[in-house]
Subunit: 351 residues, 2 copies
């Protein structure tokens, strides 16, 4: 994400205030900057090419926990977070730079495993590692990736662009990553383990440790001009929908009963006596795409996406901005969409 | 620097070993990657354009100390470290991305001051801030910048390219930044303050807190095709010369009496009973350029650089690789060049 300030960064620093202040103070309007501060990636024009640049920083104890993730998994997730930003804009990831800060007791094998994980996530997309910087850290690991992507033909998806009346879709299923994380934490004795089939348990933990960036889906949505706007789900549906609505200046209504939840996630929710819909709404790091499609293309779009074997589910529609963000409960009543979005380790353990 | 592993990163991780392993494992030979792992910046070809990408990570307590530098200074130095990588390749810096990890007690003003400092260093070069990421840190500040530059006409300087017999030059003066840092540490009561004129004291501390990236010099050296190779001095002359020689597969001999030392640095060295040459050889973070010029162009080059009002000093010449790195003492004797290069806060305080 470009110039994001994660909500848990500091209790006294307010996300939107800081971004607004920086945008006002340093935001520029150069003809070559197609997109600057405020979308999933920055976009630069170079002749007929468009380049996308994104950076995501993961800090130990905040975004990952070495008790629940191996170094290869940490690397894989760090790469996916960045790949997913490129996917959300319909781009093709190309080049990777890696900045690491490593504690004094780090060993070479850990660094190599981290790189192995990153490159495992990047290899299917033929991303090349072109540089980086490795330095010391007084405490904990910091993994900061920068990814450069391109947009063939210059076609891209932005957060802005959703119109009132557009249908709202998501790829894949929601809440799996959060359920997987909770399972890993329980396995480490942080809470009692629920009874769950091994296959379901494996599916959910893999969805947390090895999430998929929806590069192919993003390119297709952009290239065939299906989507009017898109964002990737890193903070969770309710949080990221808020960003999409803010940039597009529209409202939205979500159909709770329509949210795609995997059977593994549903079983997990039942076993821990939780509502699977809550996991789907606020569980973060699914790295699915949330996007809008004009309602008049609905039938054609759904047919075309099925032909591609994509799982894309209509979960709501865009409304006028003044109607805000709402949800329809299974019984038909409407309620405001709760603000809760993904909270990282730190916030969870301190609250 | 691209894919550097700073020597102090971890006592068990060896710089060259890790870079070699990563290069072997993940290095690619795509036609569009003009330079990958191992130079000051990575270089990507896009049509007739060349893009440079570099990243430098600064960690609190390792690369900066809040007792001796204000947030604006920390931002300025972080930007200069990246600008200097672009300068060393003869490029023009264009776009900046900023990733910050900030401790929980951080306040908005500190973040803004950090950005103010970065942008103060970037503004003379008309670099645009296009994105970034701000996140929490469990302990200490991490400032990771990524800079994108371009090379007009595709002309660039590399670390490789120096030939046996080439003259070796540096811009500016050496050792000022290290002297300035020591003065700041002494001012904070870490050691007794030496007697020194206020103007000299100010000059040295400013050279540490507000170093200059030699963008104009780098572009000129590249554009007019004067230099056969170049590197920026972040680790110190003896350390960075080693990188240049390794990439160019040559040796070098330094004339100690020729090293350019400012009168302020000389006075400082005298006042603390140190050898100014040692500061010039091993003091890091001067961000001057170290470069080679064919000896047959010497007269024309020196005349042209004077016309530009550049301070560029011949400090030695390149030799055959088998002769290694040597220095000529003021009395004419030759000695091997000591390995010592810049050590950051951590190493200094722990040894």
């Amino acid at each position: 994400m470009t110039l994001s300030v994660r909500s848990q960064a500091s209790p006294t620093i307010h996300e939107f205030d800081l971004i607004r202040a920086l945008k006002k103070r340093y935001g520029t309007t150069s003809a070559r900057i197609v997109r600057g501060i405020g979308d999933d990636a920055a976009v630069i024009a170079s002749g007929r090419n468009r380049y996308l640049l994104t950076t995501d920083l993961l800090a130990e104890g905040i975004h990952f926990d070495r008790r629940t993730a191996a170094f290869t998994d940490i690397g894989f997730r760090a790469a996916t977070a960045n790949l997913s930003d490129i996917a959300a804009m319909g781009g093709t990831p190309e080049y990777l730079l890696v900045a690491l800060a490593i504690p004094r007791d780090a060993i070479g094998r850990q660094v190599r495993q981290l790189y192995d994980g990153m490159m495992a996530a990047c290899r299917p997309h033929r991303v090349n590692l072109i540089g980086g910087d490795t330095s010391a850290s007084r405490s904990g690991w910091f993994v900061n990736l920068m990814l450069v992507g391109s947009a063939a033909g210059g076609r891209l998806l932005f957060r802005s662009g959703a119109k009132e009346g557009d249908d709202l879709y998501v790829t894949g299923t929601l809440g799996d990553s959060r359920a997987g994380l909770q399972l890993l934490q329980r396995r480490r004795g942080m809470a009692p383990a629920p009874s769950l089939q091994a296959a379901h348990r494996r599916f959910l933990t893999q969805r947390h440790l090895r999430p998929t960036a929806r590069i192919r889906e993003g390119r297709w949505l952009s290239k065939a001009r299906w989507a009017t706007s898109a964002i990737d789900l890193s903070d969770g549906l309710s949080g990221d929908l808020r960003h999409l609505c803010a940039e597009s200046e529209v409202g939205a209504i979500i159909e709770l009963a329509a949210l795609p939840v995997s059977s593994a996630c549903r079983r997990y929710a039942v076993s821990v006596k939780k509502d699977p819909t809550a996991l789907a709404l606020s569980g973060g790091e699914d790295y699915e795409l949330l996007f809008t499609v004009s309602a008049r293309h609905r039938a054609r779009f759904e047919r075309a996406s099925m032909q591609q074997h994509f799982r894309m589910t209509k979960v709501g529609r865009m409304t006028a901005a003044k109607e805000g963000l709402r949800m329809t409960l299974p019984d038909g009543r409407q309620r405001p969409l709760p603000c809760s979005s993904y909270e990282h380790f730190r916030s969870r353990s301190s609250t």
